[in-house]
């Protein structure tokens, strides 16, 4: 279909085109809810089956980095909202700045996530043959905080006593397997979320280059708005992931 200005040929008016694009994005987000929904259900059911092991797993995550990332994403949601507003009000000089800020914050999130994944790798918490929840307490690295290690040792010890006080060896095998299930879900959920962030970053780069050409204004800002919807959705998924993965049954200190 041919395009006249910003109006694609299948539409009669720009208003109809905008309504269509927005509805399309909302429906896409509904499919995303169902997509993540399958994972959230799998997580919830297993959390119910293996409450102790999932608690041990949750306490092995780095709360500082998780919290920092939550703030980074909330900040990026703010800059995204500002991008939509600057586009709506034709502030053509500000729009690229807010888009770039959003992109940078998304990059910071992925950077922190990378550091976290690397840490899990060093602690032998990647699911697979070498997965070992006792690796870190048995092989402390130089920079490790001894208080943290003691807390982790106590956490695992308590979990073993809860699971099977008669047979600590068997309890450890089971706890290790079920914590591995926790980390399988952790990587599947956060990995899929990170993939969505990467897609969002690609969309932001596109918006950024188009905004430099001054394409978006009060009369046409649909792409900024729909990418904004997507970006906020991905942020909201993280808020849920953060609460479910990091905060349940958390032992502070």
């Amino acid at each position: 279909m041919h395009r006249t200005g910003e109006l694609y040929g299948q539409f009669e008016t720009l208003e109809q085109q905008k309504e269509t694009a927005t509805l399309g994005m909302w429906i896409f987000l509904v499919t995303e809810v169902l997509f993540f929904g399958g994972l959230f259900l799998t997580y919830t059911i297993n959390r119910h089956y293996y409450f102790t092991a999932f608690g041990v797993g949750g306490n092995m995550l780095d709360l500082t980095m998780g919290t920092a990332n939550t703030f980074v994403l909330i900040a990026s949601s703010f800059t995204m909202a500002m991008s939509v507003w600057t586009a709506q009000t034709s502030r053509k000089n500000l729009l690229p700045i807010f888009l770039m800020l959003t992109l940078i914050l998304g990059g910071v999130f992925l950077g922190i996530k990378y550091v976290e994944y690397k840490q899990k790798y060093d602690h032998h918490l990647i699911p697979g043959p070498s997965f070992d929840i006792t690796y870190r307490i048995n092989h402390p690295a130089r920079g490790d905080n001894p208080k943290e290690l003691a807390a982790e040792r106590q956490e695992i010890g308590e979990a073993l006593r809860t699971e099977d006080p008669e047979n600590p060896q068997g309890a450890l095998v089971a706890l290790n397997a079920h914590t591995q299930l926790y980390f399988s879900l952790y990587f599947a959920m956060t990995g899929l979320h990170a993939l969505h962030m990467v897609v969002g970053a690609g969309l932001l780069i596109w918006l950024f280059t188009e905004s430099l050409k001054g394409r978006f204004s009060t009369s046409y800002y649909t792409p900024v708005e729909t990418v904004g919807l997507y970006w906020h959705f991905v942020d909201i998924v993280w808020i849920y992931l953060f609460a479910l993965l990091y905060l349940i049954n958390r032992h502070l200190g």
């Binding site: 309504e19 399309g24 997509f35 399958g38 299930l181």
Partner: protein, 557 residues
């Protein structure tokens, strides 16, 4: 076409969507929904023949009690690959992606779907998914059953499961994007005057289908992704040895795969709802009930999935609830059947080929639907679970229902798609051959199942041979019933008579434009001022000439 009908001399328009541009690029990069529909037509036909090839081998193998053709391991692969090719790559895209794609913009008076590029992307995604699955078929095959139950699929199977689940995962996005495109199009692209309750019932059926595609497919996608990850990386989501829950897989799988049955049959119901009023020359009986029952089927269809798991040891209370809800689906399904029948009553029925398919659909869907009630009954299902009774039941729905609807719809709209009529006599014969062949293939399987022959077995006791031979004989007739339309429809593209804009004549907007339609569908944007299927107020159809008596309207129309 009915004799004695006075029609203007039909001729092809000079320029239409087929000859607007030429060359391979103009097809592979097209964003015209009509051309994309034809791309889908070619590709789903390809997968239909792949699935049909495996079906042929299955039926030949089962000619003798010990199995005539292949090893037990190969037999497992045959029925698995038959199911995967037919369900994911033929039945699910068949009517929506071919007829729906072609017709929805025409029926609502739009120039195209809401997102034409996304529509083309859906087709490419389908091809990529299909390539993965063909890779799986040709490098070790697939032997898990189309249901991919864990831990067989994630650990024990030695066949090429990973590329297959990835292929179906990818293909899922084709389905999701098609559904999304349809819903948005129906919401925002309707012509002036085309209110919701003036929409053709075909469009209502596709709206309901699209809801299932949008809400169900993502769940299957994530589930199969987890199976793929489990298999590649030895994770334990559904592996009991690692603490995972295989029953959870079954819940997630059927949460999509039961509603998927309605993705197959709802569009076929839409086709039948168009054919019957057009060829009985009568307004459809109970328009709003048929429209509403499509939505009801889509909604209730999401609440019945665990009836596939009655023998997995689920709680009695869950089983009772799911049994009850499964019975409930029968109500909107029966509403449709009663309304079609009432439309036929005192109608001026013409025995054109699409009508034969539509009547065939009603009969076969009735048998498929009623045997579904047997299976929803908690007592009987324990006896017939995993037997040929189940195989026969779902083939009556999927082949007797969905495929009859698809082939009937292809005939009904063939004049619109190609501008040419198919040959009438041979096509009626083919429709009857298809009906007879189908019943001979699958009716014996009801008896086999009731007598206790389990599905998916490569051998059987000698006393079941007669029924199996009958079924195989039926399958050869059925094959003829598919090859004939394929041959004469292709023939008619070159040699068929010019059809004219409205050969039936029917009331829908798609019949108001040229056959084949121009690229932008309508020369001027249509304005709808009439109610759906209203023959009486439409002198433009040529019926008022008095050549064809109009039957009196009934009921709430």
């Amino acid at each position: 076409m009915s004799e004695g009908l006075v029609l203007p001399v039909a001729k092809q328009p000079h320029e239409h969507y087929l000859n607007a541009t030429y060359g391979i690029r103009s097809w592979l990069l097209t964003t015209d929904h009509k051309r994309i529909a034809l791309l889908y037509l070619a590709s789903v036909t390809f997968f239909f023949f792949i699935g049909g090839f495996f079906a042929t081998l299955i039926r030949i193998h089962l000619l003798t009690p010990a199995g005539a053709l292949v090893s037990p391991e190969t037999y497992n692969k045959l029925f698995t690959m038959h199911g995967v090719a037919m369900i994911f790559f033929f039945l699910i895209p068949s009517i929506p992606a071919v007829l729906g794609n072609f017709l929805i913009p025409l029926m609502i008076g739009a120039k195209d779907l809401a997102f034409p590029k996304l529509n083309l992307l859906s087709w490419y995604i389908y091809l990529v998914g299909g390539a993965f699955v063909l890779y799986s078929f040709s490098t070790g095959g697939l032997d898990t059953g189309w249901t991919f139950y864990t831990p067989l699929s994630s650990i024990y199977s030695n066949s090429a499961v990973t590329p297959a689940v990835l292929g179906i995962f990818i293909n899922g996005f084709s389905s999701i994007l098609t559904g999304l495109n349809f819903v948005v199009t129906i919401h925002t692209m309707r012509a002036p005057g085309m209110t919701w309750f003036r929409l053709p019932l075909f469009v209502w059926a596709h709206y309901a289908t699209s809801l299932i595609m949008i809400l169900g497919t993502p769940v299957l996608a994530i589930t199969l992704l987890l199976v793929g990850l489990e298999r590649m990386l030895h994770l334990g989501f559904f592996n009991p040895a690692l603490g995972g829950d295989p029953i959870l897989f079954q819940h997630l799988f059927w949460f999509y795969s039961h509603p998927a049955v309605y993705i197959m049959v709802l569009p076929a119901m839409g086709v039948v709802s168009e054919i019957i009023p057009a060829l009985a020359r009568k307004p459809i009986f109970g328009y709003s009930f048929i429209a509403g029952s499509s939505i009801a089927i889509a909604v209730i269809g999401f609440l019945v999935w665990a009836h596939h798991m009655f023998v997995t040891g689920e709680s009695t209370y869950a089983a009772l609830a799911f049994s009850f809800l499964s019975y409930l689906v029968a109500i909107p399904s029966a509403v449709k059947v009663f309304n079609w029948t009432s439309t036929l009553y005192k109608g001026a029925i013409s025995w054109d080929t699409p009508m034969i398919y539509a009547l065939g659909f009603i009969g076969l869907f009735l048998i498929g639907g009623l045997t579904g009630l047997f299976l929803a009954c908690l007592g009987i299902v324990i006896h017939v679970h995993d037997t040929y009774f189940v195989v026969a039941h779902f083939h009556y729905i999927m082949v007797g229902g969905a495929v009859m609807g698809y082939v009937g719809g292809l005939h009904f709209w063939w004049p619109k798609i190609t501008g040419k009529m198919y040959p009438e006599a041979i096509s009626r014969l083919a429709a009857i051959i298809l009906f007879v062949g189908f019943n001979l293939t699958f009716f014996p399987q009801f008896i086999l199942g009731y007598l206790g022959m389990p599905r998916r077995y490569h051998s059987y006791p000698p006393e079941f041979q007669v029924l199996n031979v009958l079924s195989t004989a039926g399958a050869s007739i059925l094959a003829l019933g598919y090859l004939l339309p394929m041959a004469y429809l292709i023939w008619s593209m070159r040699y068929g008579e010019a059809a004219g804009p409205n050969p039936w004549p029917a009331t829908g907007l798609e019949w108001q434009t040229d056959s084949p339609p121009p690229t932008e569908n309508f020369h001027v944007t249509p304005v709808v001022t009439w109610e759906p299927y209203d023959f009486k107020s439409r002198p433009d159809l040529g019926l008022a000439a008095g050549a064809q008596p109009l039957a009196p309207a009934h009921g709430d129309d």
